[in-house]
């Protein structure tokens, strides 16, 4: 349940997980590109200075070196801002990590529009789309501290490339302590009958809040946390949509190639008769820069925008 007074930065969860894993002799190395503060990696760096490699402001070197270290036997993790990872080092991600199948975990920090008014050079609203374009890489977007910890533990165990989309905001816990993350499994956060709101990462919290607002208006919304983008079990999405008949996707990402596209593909390939509305950044346009909250409201991926879109979809449903 949403507990606003207990929030945690998912990066702190990540760093704590790295410390615990290194303490258990995990053959781990974390690479940064002058991004020690971005990654909040200082506690790990102080505890394990030899397991931290800083390549300077050089993202191609970051990813290539990480792939080389993985081939040399390490579980190599990169941690830097998502835009500079997926855009600057795109070919290194494709060839050195994915095609080579190196055991590298790419952490895209402050993804989406976390950098708000710093504008589009610092936004990554196409990172999931880009990563989905590559073969051979698993893609996750944790929504809360409980899930983030388990996703990092899973990623370090898994032998192969992984991309983890991270947010900079502190998040409350959405999951019960006995929640067990499973790659591919669709996580139904809230059961509902009228509409399926399928959200990714930070927008899961908006979807969750929207469901409570809709409940007050007599609408019973199901909230689906799409934290596992690849792999993804289609049947989990389809089961929800067969029940509600309406799909509303929400992401702080371009409508192209993210969770909206994923759900559209799943619906179409299954031949399911189901209406779909995608909320996200408009395809083919850069984000209008500004404070992050205003940006989210502008494209309707905040709780109020989700409520409005859900009501509009339901009003058009006989």
């Amino acid at each position: 349940m949403l507990t606003e007074n207990h929030t945690q930065d998912l990066r702190e969860v990540m760093v704590q997980t790295f410390i615990e894993e290194a303490e258990q002799d995990r053959n781990l190395v974390v690479l940064v590109s002058d991004s020690t503060s971005t990654a909040k990696i200082k506690p790990f760096m102080e505890r394990f200075p030899d397991k931290l490699v800083n390549v300077g402001i050089a993202e191609q070197s970051l990813v290539g070196t990480a792939a080389g270290m993985a081939l040399g036997g390490f579980v190599a993790v990169t941690a830097n801002a998502a835009p500079f990872l997926v855009h600057r080092a795109n070919e290194q991600v494709k060839n050195d990590v994915c095609y080579t199948n190196a055991n590298v975990k790419l952490v895209g920090l402050n993804a989406g529009v976390c950098y708000g008014a710093l504008a589009s050079t610092h936004h990554a609203i196409d990172d999931v789309s880009i990563m989905r374009g590559f073969g051979n890489i698993q893609i996750f977007a944790p929504s809360d501290p409980v899930e983030a910890k388990q996703i990092f533990q899973y990623a370090l165990d898994y032998e192969g490339p992984v991309y983890i989309r991270m947010d900079s905001a502190p998040f409350p816990v959405l999951h019960d302590p006995d929640y067990r993350f499973e790659p591919g499994k669709v996580d139904i956060l809230r059961q509902g009958r009228d509409i399926s709101i399928i959200a990714m990462g930070s927008t899961v919290h908006e979807a969750h809040a929207a469901a409570f607002m809709l409940e007050e208006q007599g609408i019973d919304a199901e909230v689906v946390n799409a934290s596992s983008i690849r792999p993804v079990e289609h049947e989990g999405i389809l089961a929800s949509l067969r029940k509600t008949g309406l799909a509303l996707t929400v992401e702080e990402h371009s409508m192209h190639g993210g969770v909206g596209s994923l759900v559209a593909e799943i619906i179409a390939e299954a031949g399911l008769g189901c209406r779909l509305k995608r909320l996200g950044f408009v395809e083919g346009k850069f984000a209008v820069p500004g404070p992050r909250g205003a940006m989210r409201a502008h494209i309707g991926i905040d709780a109020q925008g989700i409520v409005t879109a859900a009501r509009e979809m339901l009003s058009r449903t006989p």
Binding site: N27, G56, A58, G68, M69, G72, Q92, N95, T100
Partner: protein, 276 residues
């Protein structure tokens, strides 16, 4: 761990003749290939696999093996023919070069071919990968050496210089970066397209221990590698001066032979030149 062959420079030279014949024949049969690049690097590859690299013939993935990265991945034909000459690859496979679902694709693919460490082909990737391998060796206390062979035109990619900075910063004296300095790239001479000189000064300024040698003379190349300073805290850069298309008069120094193949009478002519 030692090199499983330990050939003398003279024995290496004898093998380079056979490797070059394989390159010409294989590219001719395949109907494609980077003949100029393959012939340019032949003496370097032969020296590495038949003399310098320490590895196990029976266990290509042995953790203590020296690593070799062909950053100029388009020279993969030269690598396949060297491996075949060394008996590390079934020579019959050369007939499948570039065919559908072959074990010998047009750029190195480690999932397909034994002794290939990493998937290269896009230029400017190998050095950073080599930095990672060398850094991993340092951090895990493993004594393997990492060799990276780049082209020279490839050095126009900025990623090489990022990697060079990192190599020097982390004092990777277990990294040996060989530049196949044949002076040609796809379209023309490197110095016409985007000049690299003074290359030795640039490499030295980036913190490398720089050594210039004849990359088409196995004896000189081997002597250079075997006399590299050890434990000096500096990555090694070897400028291996080569001739693109080395060994066949009408291929040598011709930019058009970057990805041309011998056709018609050119194959017997080339093979005859090599036999002399």
């Amino acid at each position: 761990m030692n090199n499983p062959f330990g050939f003398s420079p003279e024995e290496v030279v004898e093998n380079t003749v056979e490797i070059r014949k394989k390159i010409l024949t294989t590219n001719h049969n395949a109907g494609q290939g980077h003949t100029g690049a393959d012939l340019s690097e032949t003496d370097i590859l032969a020296s590495l696999y038949l003399r310098l690299l320490r590895f196990s013939k029976d266990d290509p993935q042995h953790p203590d093996r020296d690593r070799f990265i062909l950053s100029k991945g388009h020279g993969v034909g030269g690598l396949y023919c060297t491996l075949a000459q060394a008996g590390l690859l079934d020579s019959n496979l050369l007939d499948t070069y570039l065919q559908f679902n072959t074990k010998l694709p047009g750029h190195p693919v480690r999932q397909k071919t034994p002794f290939v460490e990493v998937n290269t082909g896009a230029l400017g990737h190998g050095l950073a990968l080599g930095v990672g391998l060398a850094l991993a060796a340092k951090k895990s206390g493993n004594g393997y050496l990492t060799y990276v062979l780049t082209g020279d035109g490839e050095l126009q990619e900025g990623s090489n210089w990022e990697a060079a900075m990192t190599a020097a910063h982390y004092q990777l004296d277990n990294l040996i970066w060989i530049v196949d300095r044949n002076g040609l790239q796809l379209a023309d001479c490197t110095e016409t397209i985007m000049s690299l000189e003074p290359l030795d000064d640039k490499l030295a300024a980036f913190g490398m221990s720089v050594h210039t040698t004849n990359g088409n003379d196995p004896a000189e190349f081997i002597a250079t590698v075997e006399s590299l300073p050890k434990d000096d805290g500096k990555p090694k850069a070897i400028i291996a001066q080569t001739t693109k298309g080395k060994g066949v008069s009408f291929i040598e120094g011709q930019p058009s032979w970057h990805h041309r193949i011998p056709k018609g009478d050119e194959l017997p002519q080339a093979l005859e030149e090599l036999a002399c």
